[in-house]
């Protein structure tokens, strides 16, 4: 891609139709949706559990440390894990796929 390229000098529809872009967007979308749905459900288990299953949250695991505290701490670990998994996959896979498209942006769809 040259420095002088502008939005008008790029054939966006052709890039959108390019199989490499289709692969990037479908993989990314599926991965993001999955992680998003999982994280939202996992988060709401905490307030719902605390409200409707308090007896379960009171079960002691280690000294005074109960399931409720352990579960709340797990929320932190899971949030960090999601961030880690996403960034690892994006760094390794999505960025490389995007770089290829950026490189060829001016030539895709040119006859």
């Amino acid at each position: 891609m040259s420095v002088s390229s502008t939005a008008a000098s790029i054939n966006w529809a052709a890039i959108d139709a390019d199989p490499r872009f289709q692969l990037l967007h479908s993989r990314k979308l599926r991965f993001l949706m999955g992680l998003m749905v999982f994280s939202v459900i996992f988060y709401f288990l905490l307030p719902v559990g605390a409200a409707y299953f308090p007896e379960l949250f009171k079960v002691k695991l280690w000294g005074p440390l109960n399931i409720g505290i352990a579960f709340a701490l797990t929320e932190f670990v899971v949030a960090w894990a999601i961030a880690f998994f996403y960034s690892r996959r994006a760094n390794r896979e999505f960025d490389a796929m995007a770089r290829e498209l950026i490189r060829d942006a001016e030539t895709i769809g040119r006859k």
């Binding site: 891609m1 390229s5 502008t6 939005a7 790029i10 966006w12 529809a13 890039i15 959108d16 872009f21 990037l24 967007h25 990314k28 979308l29 993001l32 992680l35 998003m36 994280s39 939202v40 988060y43 709401f44 905490l46 307030p47 719902v48 605390a50 409200a51 409707y52 308090p54 949250f57 009171k58 002691k60 280690w62 000294g63 005074p64 440390l65 109960n66 409720g68 505290i69 709340a72 701490l73 929320e75 932190f76 949030a79 960090w80 999601i82 961030a83 880690f84 996403y86 960034s87 994006a90 760094n91 960025d95 995007a98 498209l101 950026i102 942006a105």
Partner: protein, 634 residues
């Protein structure tokens, strides 16, 4: 430049005597130690002023002013996001909630971190790839630029104003409680300092002030946790054991549970502190607030704006990862701060200074340093107080910048001038808008004195989640989304969120206030009799207790009669209701789905050729970052 330099000195010099003005109010810091507090404050303010002075040399263009020229690294931006996000509400508020209510306070903190998963997965990188300075830039990309800029800017200014009001009022009260200076003085001091940072240093200075504040906050928290945890050999069960075995913690649980605690042993009372249900009684409110947090953070304009300060999507990603590590780590530390304050300071002493528990962390610092009469105790307290002050200034600076950019870049440059402005005019517009918003913040802060503004932060999140988030998300990911959807989503999302709060239990209902006050006054007769009896018993411990009880009761009765007098002739709330229409405190549960529905229906009912034609370009760009480097150059 010389003139500018003298302006800084003037701003710095103006704010210091404001802070040092003697006042009669009693704060957490003893009068003998106020000099120490001011020394620490002066050191931290001096440091941020110096940074602003350096930054001002680098602010030449509108891009420098709004986004630091896109030259912030992922690591720096991560710290700045943490600095922007960890407002006094989360720094002092959550530690306070844990110290008073145990488990429920800790559970509350989780949502504030989980919110960043949404930011990371669906918002940060696409916004970096297609945005320039503001939230409305993203909406204007494929929709009608003028229309979407107007609704986008109005929503940004609404959200920022709610948040700003909460920060200004909360900050004024906080500084007054901590060091006893007048409320108005501290509001003006916060406003003047913040204006100095933003006006001269723009986003460069704001970023550095936020980084400095976040680093100081983390250092202070780690130090406090080390001190509070070390006696238990850094063992979690031993620490929890000590907390639940503490008589003050057990007494607090007994006080919270009332009659229900009659048959509980001290050990059971202590353990109850680590179990849910002491603060949150209505699960539906919790879920509603959780939704507002998890989806609202991604729609907060001052957070969104931070992603325009980094050069690439990769750096945007890196900055969220860092922010999540810092913010999450901070909330884990807060568990120790809260429990440490509960057992070392005690809920009764915390509430004696501030009923909301905001003083838990500062009082813990004072205790750990050696107590109220020691040098180190007061040095620790001064440090935490200064960090709290820096927190307010840093958060307010970010908010003012977001609101000013909506006013100058979207409304003035985009809509009124139709993008036909010189670079000099752009910077000038940005600075004028900053002064307007800053003056507004100070005025609102002073006008709202004494109002209960705690729910305004939740309302800001609710509007962001119900209006900004659906619009930004769907314009980025849904092909059929168009101008009609954005207009409908912004208007309906904002109006339902605000409207639902206006008829909710958050408002003041004079009849209910008067009934509660009357009950206190009626009940006080019997309680005074009991206290008088105890005072006459001759037992020294009982007499001392009775004196304390009497002082507390006097305060309650004074507050109750004050309320009876204040609402004497009033029957209805601000919107004319005698009682709330429903019990939901946070509107998220209803207004977020409605916001999404409005974007869907608005888009389907409206025909917009441009939005359809631009879809390929927007979708390819948000996914790949093609031309991203140019977006900030032009």
């Amino acid at each position: 430049m010389a003139a500018r330099k003298s302006l800084y000195l003037a701003a710095g010099a103006l704010s210091l005597p404001l802070l040092a003005m003697p006042a009669l109010a009693q704060g957490a810091v003893g009068t003998d130690w106020r000099w120490l507090t001011f020394t620490v404050f002066a050191a931290i303010i001096g440091l941020t002023m110096f940074v602003t002075y350096l930054a001002a040399k680098r602010v030449k263009s509108a891009a420098d002013f709004y986004t630091a020229g896109g030259g912030v690294s992922g690591l720096q931006n991560g710290w700045a996001i943490a600095g922007d996000y960890l407002s006094a509400a989360s720094f002092l508020g959550i530690a306070g909630l844990i110290s008073l209510y145990g488990y429920d306070g800790f559970m509350y903190s989780v949502g504030w971190l989980v919110a960043y998963i949404t930011v990371l997965l669906v918002i940060a990188e696409p916004c970096r790839n297609i945005g320039k300075y503001t939230l409305a830039d993203i909406l204007a990309y494929r929709n009608d630029p003028k229309k979407t800029r107007v609704v986008g800017a109005i929503s940004v200014i609404t959200v920022s104003t709610f948040y700003l009001t909460a920060q200004m009022v909360g900050g004024g009260v906080l500084v007054k409680t901590l060091i006893g200076i007048d409320y108005e003085v501290s509001v003006v001091a916060v406003g003047v300092l913040m204006l100095a940072y933003v006006l001269f240093g723009g986003m460069v200075a704001t970023t550095w002030v936020q980084i400095i504040k976040a680093v100081l906050l983390v250092i202070a928290s780690i130090l406090l946790v080390m001190f509070v945890w070390a006696p238990y050999g850094f063992s979690l069960p031993a620490f929890l054991e000590a907390a639940i075995g503490d008589a003050k913690v057990q007494a607090q649980v007994a006080a919270l549970l009332g009659d229900a605690s009659k048959n509980m042993t001290p050990a059971e009372l202590g353990q109850r502190f680590l179990e849910p249900g002491l603060l949150f009684k209505a699960p539906i409110d919790q879920i509603s607030l959780g939704m507002a947090l998890v989806f609202g953070t991604a729609g907060l304009p001052h957070i969104l704006m931070r992603f325009f300060t980094v050069p690439t999507a990769q750096e945007a990603r890196k900055s969220v990862i860092w922010a999540m590590a810092i913010i999450g780590g901070f909330y884990v530390l807060t568990l120790f701060l809260g429990l440490g304050a509960a057992m070392n300071v005690g809920a009764a002493n915390i509430r004696a200074i501030d009923a909301g528990g905001n003083m838990a962390a500062p009082l813990l610092a004072q205790f750990l340093g050696g107590g109220a009469d020691s040098f180190f105790g007061n040095l620790f307290l001064a440090f935490v107080a200064a960090v709290a002050f820096a927190t307010i200034v840093a958060v307010v600076a970010g908010l003012v910048l977001a609101a000013a950019s909506a006013m100058a870049h979207d409304l003035y440059v985009g809509v009124i001038r139709g993008e036909h402005v010189t670079p000099q005019e752009q910077v000038k517009a940005a600075r004028i808008a900053t002064v307007i918003v800053g003056a507004l913040a100070i005025t609102i802060g002073i006008a709202a004195k004494g109002q209960n503004v705690a729910h305004l932060v939740a309302l800001a999140f609710a509007v962001a989640a119900s209006a900004n988030f659906p619009c930004v998300l769907l314009t980025l990911y849904w092909k059929r989304c168009n101008t009609g959807g954005i207009m409908a989503g912004m208007v309906i999302g904002t109006c339902t969120a605000i409207g639902l709060v206006l008829v909710s239990p958050n408002m003041t209902y004079p009849l209910a206030v008067k009934a509660a006050a009357q009950k206190v006054v009626d009940g006080s007769v019997a309680r005074y009799a009991a206290i008088a009896e105890a005072a006459a018993s001759g037992d020294a411990a009982k007499v001392a207790r009775a004196e304390k009880d009497k002082a507390a009761l006097d305060k309650q009765v004074a507050a109750a009669t004050g309320n009876l007098d204040r609402f004497k002739d009033e029957r209805t709330s601000m919107v004319g209701l005698e009682k709330p229409l429903f019990d939901l405190k946070n509107p998220g549960l209803i207004s977020i789905p409605l916001g999404f529905l409005a974007v869907f229906l608005g888009s389907l009912l409206y025909r917009d050729k441009r939005a359809e034609e631009m879809w390929d370009e927007l979708y390819v760009r948000q996914n790949t970052g093609i031309l991203a480097a140019k977006a900030q150059a032009h």
